[in-house]
Amino acid sequence: MDWAEQTNDVIKHWTDAQKELWSSWMRMMPGASAGTGGWPGMPGMGGGWPGMGGMGGGWPGMPGMGGMGGMGGFDPSQWLKTMGESWAGQGSSAQRVAGNLVQTPDMLVRSMNLLMKAWQVVAPKIEEGKPWQPDLQKVMQEWQQRLAELPERASATTNEFTELTKTLFEKWTPITGPWMQMVAQATASGHPGAAFMGGTAPMTRILGFEEGLFPMLTGVSDLPRATVVRQKMGKMLEAVDAFGDLRKAQAAFHKKMGEAMGTAVERTMDHLAKVAEKGEPITSVRDLIRTWFTVADKTLNEAFTSQNFLETQDDMIRALLTYKVKQRDALEIIYDAMDIPTRTNLDEAYKDIQELKREVRRLRRELGQVSHGAVAESPGKKAAAKKVSKEPAGKEAATS
């Protein structure tokens, strides 16, 4: 058999084994959802698996590797991910590790699929002793392109303002939810900033009145009240802009990560070519995955320290942090209006308290020096009216 045939053979065996793996996991599910078995201690299992109805999405396998007959719309990868996250979210160390453990098969499958797809492209060329890198790079570029487009695509299908208000709802629903919902509705068909003037149409009307029908209102925008509204509007717009900037920065970061991952795949293929030359074949899935992890980590390390990557990463982190700050600024408008202390107010109070503590420390030190001489010369006489307790700490430490 030539290498293309051998590769197809491995892929076929791999696909069959995957089917069996997922089928086996699925067999555990009916019992679990009926509350009669399944995974022990899995949160939420007693009353049926949450979200199963809407899982859909199809089998995430690689093209050309055959479908997963009998799976219907079930996505085992998504199922494992949800299951793992649900478990990990329970809090204890064991549950967190269990969450990671349960996602191990999915991680192995994803890694193998990626490697097999790459190997399928390069194997015939390697066997013939021809350059294989251009073919692989073409595939990797397509993959990188899709990776880089992820945030943009999400952005294209999501109104930015809706996304922003959604994040605000998630955090602040009890107080700001209704208010933000009103704003979101008002902005549905116009520029978000206009909503703060009562929506696009009313604002246009007001401006029209001002200019044409009510000349006495000319200059109304210079009134202090209007200025305040403009400032508020400005803060909200800054948050929206920051969100847009974040999307762009994330896209750039994903592109760089995609390039690094592409290089890692290429190096892994190169490693396999050398393995072929040495005649020391890889004989297990886990050995192949270990090889991939080792090469990928080394490649990513190199990428992470390159100037170009660091700049892109810094841009992305900066955009993320800026968005967080601007989002808070926008939110504080509402709190201010409701006479509720804001994060900024509290932080200022914390700062004052900390500075007062330092002042007390300085005064205490000066007082000690005046009344007792240098502390260092008489440690036993240092004035320190601070809490001293004597209690066993073993249990407390064990649970901290």
Partner: protein, 368 residues
């Protein structure tokens, strides 16, 4: 003649995946049986002898008869990033216990879990107030002029600053994997070595402070994981499935996980200091660092210093640590001890248990 490099047969794949599935199922069952209290860390017997704001001072129960206890107590200063439990992870891998067995009288500062309201705590507060307060407490309690200091990683950097500012209170200084010269992190051909320092050089930590206030532990953990993302985020757990049948091995693994992912957040102001003043500015070795209005002069380190480093340390590369030798005031009493291990392994690794505490204790006993 080349050979097809992926020789994985159909029945081998099926068998391997079935085995993985079986082990995962067993692992889940075993993990479900474990309670949080089974995964005990920091469990060596101790008293809380003093507490203030975010932190507590522990005094550990002796493990030798009183006549064998060294007369000068030792204060362990852990780092602000990750919890103090690295010094006492489990009974058979415990720096604290090993020192107690050597007759060293051990105190330790548990920095605790700062909250948002502590976001303005600076390096000045930790070094000139908190460490000083802990040292003074021990001096008062024991009626001593000086104590020994033992620094862990960034806790060692703080202990170094304190010793330079208050040399009259420090008998001897022991440092472990302690960053001193942050410009010496990079090693050609080893990109994972000093990766954190490289990444931190351009970090906008002012913005980070503004956005977070208290830097979340998860943010700090991510930067540690970046050194080996695939291995640490996936490979480690894939390997775990081979230990699911061994309860003790699983508990050991869980203890490390608990310590790694259960750590505290860091006050934003002190984190900003660490990045701007120490990492980006390298102010400590340049002699530009000021704490509480006083210049930190490493030339003031007149006490004996034992500087211990891990030869395979990728987080704090050895060159960063041993640079201290060029700056100490008392070069005659400066000594280095390399250990063939990594940054965490120096405290928790099996081999290190027989080297770190025994040799540090022997050195402490030698100091007059």
């Amino acid at each position: 003649m080349t050979q097809f490099p992926i020789q994985i047969r159909h029945d081998d794949i099926a068998r391997e995946l079935a085995e993985i599935e079986r082990k995962v199922a067993v692992g889940l069952e075993r993990l479900t049986d474990l309670k949080e209290e089974d995964v005990d860390i920091g469990s060596s017997p101790k008293d809380v002898v003093y507490e203030r704001e975010t932190w507590k001072l522990y005094h550990y129960k002796p493990m030798v008869e009183p006549s064998k206890i060294h007369p000068i107590p030792m204060l362990i200063v852990p780092p602000l990033i990750n919890g103090y439990e690295v010094a006492d992870l489990q009974p058979d891998r415990s720096l604290v216990r090993n020192f107690l067995k050597e007759g060293i009288d051990v105190y330790l500062v548990n920095w605790g879990y700062p909250k948002r309201c502590d976001m303005y705590l600076k390096t000045d507060d930790y070094v000139c107030d908190f460490i000083d307060d802990a040292v003074d407490f021990i001096r008062r309690e024991r009626d001593l002029d000086k104590v020994n200091l033992f620094g862990i990683c960034q806790g060692g950097t703080m202990a170094t600053c304190y010793s330079a500012l208050s040399p009259e209170k420090v008998k001897s200084l022991v440092l472990t994997v302690t960053p001193i010269d942050f410009s010496r992190g990079k090693v050609e051909g080893q990109p994972h070595v000093g990766l954190l320092f490289e990444m931190g050089k351009t970090a906008d930590v002012d913005l980070m402070f503004e956005a977070f206030g208290l830097i979340p532990a998860d943010v700090l953990n991510i930067s540690f994981l970046m050194a080996s993302p695939f291995t640490l985020m996936f490979g480690k757990y894939a390997d775990t499935i081979d230990m699911v049948g061994d309860r003790d091995a699983m508990l050991n693994f869980l203890r490390m996980e608990k310590w790694l992912f259960g750590g505290p957040g860091v006050a934003g102001a002190v984190y900003r200091d660490l990045v701007k003043k120490f990492l980006q500015g390298n102010q400590l070795v340049k002699g530009e660092l000021e704490l509480d209005g006083r210049k930190v002069d490493l030339g003031n380190l007149s006490m004996p210093v034992l500087n211990i480093y891990a030869e395979r340390d990728h987080l704090v590369p050895p060159n960063c640590t041993i640079a201290l030798g060029e700056h100490v005031g008392n070069k005659k009493d400066y000594k280095e001890l390399p250990i063939k291990t990594g940054h965490i392994g120096i405290y928790t690794g099996g081999a290190s248990q027989k080297i770190l505490a025994p040799q540090a204790a022997a050195w402490l006993r030698e100091q007059k």
